[in-house]
Amino acid sequence: MLLDVQDLTVSFHSRDGVNEAVRGISFGLEKGKTLAIVGESGSGKSVTSMALTKLLPPKPMCQVSGVARLGGKSLLDLPEKEMRSVRGKGIAYIFQEPSTSLNPYYTVGSQIAEALKYHRDDVSDIGKEVVRLLDQVGIRDPENRAKDYPHQMSGGMKQRVMIAIALACQPSILVADEPTTALDVTIEAQIINLLRDLRQRLDMSIILITHNFGIVDGFADDIAVMFRGEIVEAGPAEKVLVDPEHPYAQALIKCIPKMGAKRERLPVVDYSKLEAG
């Protein structure tokens, strides 16, 4: 098991009280596999992924407990110095909004080079590696596009640059947190295809965080469905998609608008029923 998470709990403490965002969840990820964490806003899926590399606020605002092992290394009690080598190399992230993740004052090439400088001692010609990475994520004319600033690129291209930065560190796990939510359908399809292709070529593990079952189907090997901080359903993708047991997982799949379906009312998630049950 490449990543093994047991009983992970994350709670935020504020003047208004304690908010348990993640309540004792456990999951694992094998090398080369893709795990999709599906749930709606506030279900704790992003917090889960950020807890793994301590990207959350420090104590006492935020308390994290449980065990998370990455290749035998215990992540949750790692000192900050060692954590820096896990971020990027162990687990790299791409987020939803590529334009807020990139610095508008630097060229995209220099932002990829920054990741190389910190995480890759083995690269002698950084410029050449930047071009290779841009080429790998499917950016045409990479020599010239490396000199572009973020505003000169489209949303889809910026997301490709974000993927290039993540890949620069040669991570064992790539966390894609809603990577296509801000993008058009056509671009979404391109980015998902790119991730699929890279996973195969680089034998990389992916954690895909999303609210949309539509992009999970055909991409993930395993699915964990989160609701109010808990994993309510987990298992192989075919099982969860075709025969979900938990009513929330069932409702979430049913409310995706389908192509070819006539104009009926969309089924909605009945929260009052879920809370009672």
């Binding site: 709606e40 806003s41 506030g42 609210h211 998609l241 799949i253 409310c255 608008p257 192509m259």
Partner: protein, 278 residues
Amino acid sequence: MSNENSEEKPLLQVRDLSVTYEARRGAFIKRSEFIHAVKRVSFEARKGTTLGLVGESGSGKSTIGKAILRLAPIESGSIKYDGQELTGLDESAFLPYRKRIQTIFQDPYASMNPRHSIASIVAEPLKVHAPEMGKQDRKDRVAELLEKVGLRADSMNRYPHQFSGGQRQRICVARALSSKPEFIICDECVSALDVSVQAQIVNLLQDLQDELGITYLFIAHDLAVVEHICDEALVMELGEIVEQGPTDRLYRSPEHPYTQSLLDAVPKMPTLVGSDQI
């Protein structure tokens, strides 16, 4: 939701509409570049129906919505609403149409003033379009609107940050409804929402249409949602309409390669399609 009486005159009639933005470039020597966002576009929307407008970012679909409300510089063409030509009207003559045509935007976080209470946000159009209304009447109307969109009437004393994204979008719907419009432009109004919340808002829009006979111009890039809600759709690419027609026909047998490529990009869901989950 299609209207049986298709013989009647269209509510909105757009002819050869072109919108051009001027962009000034250069630090010292200014030069103007013209961006033709919308090029000679023609379409009509029938009363009580939903017209979809699909295309990628930058295809000009939002610009059309803005042009109808005079938020974009119209270069040429005509926009007829209920038989009246809107282009060329002066601002005071146009004001009644601002009451009849409302809009709901994509981001429910950015489209409300965080310092205003829900009551003042929802009542804002009333202040402009029904200034004669008394304070208590206005309050009653806001309560009625909030209940109509599925919120509690006492939400009116709260502030936007106390609501979730889906609830905020409901508030935006209530605000749009407050001036009793006949026509609502929904500009990507469900794109930023979770799938589960999206379903609720789509259902709400459909219920309101059945109840009040509102006409929608539904701008979106998600083709599955458009198929679900729209009677007819326009497909835009680079400022031009490349294909239009009833959604059934458009999705079953697209004629333009761009429509085909948009349809191909919709997630295939190989496991879900064919299972009895669908």
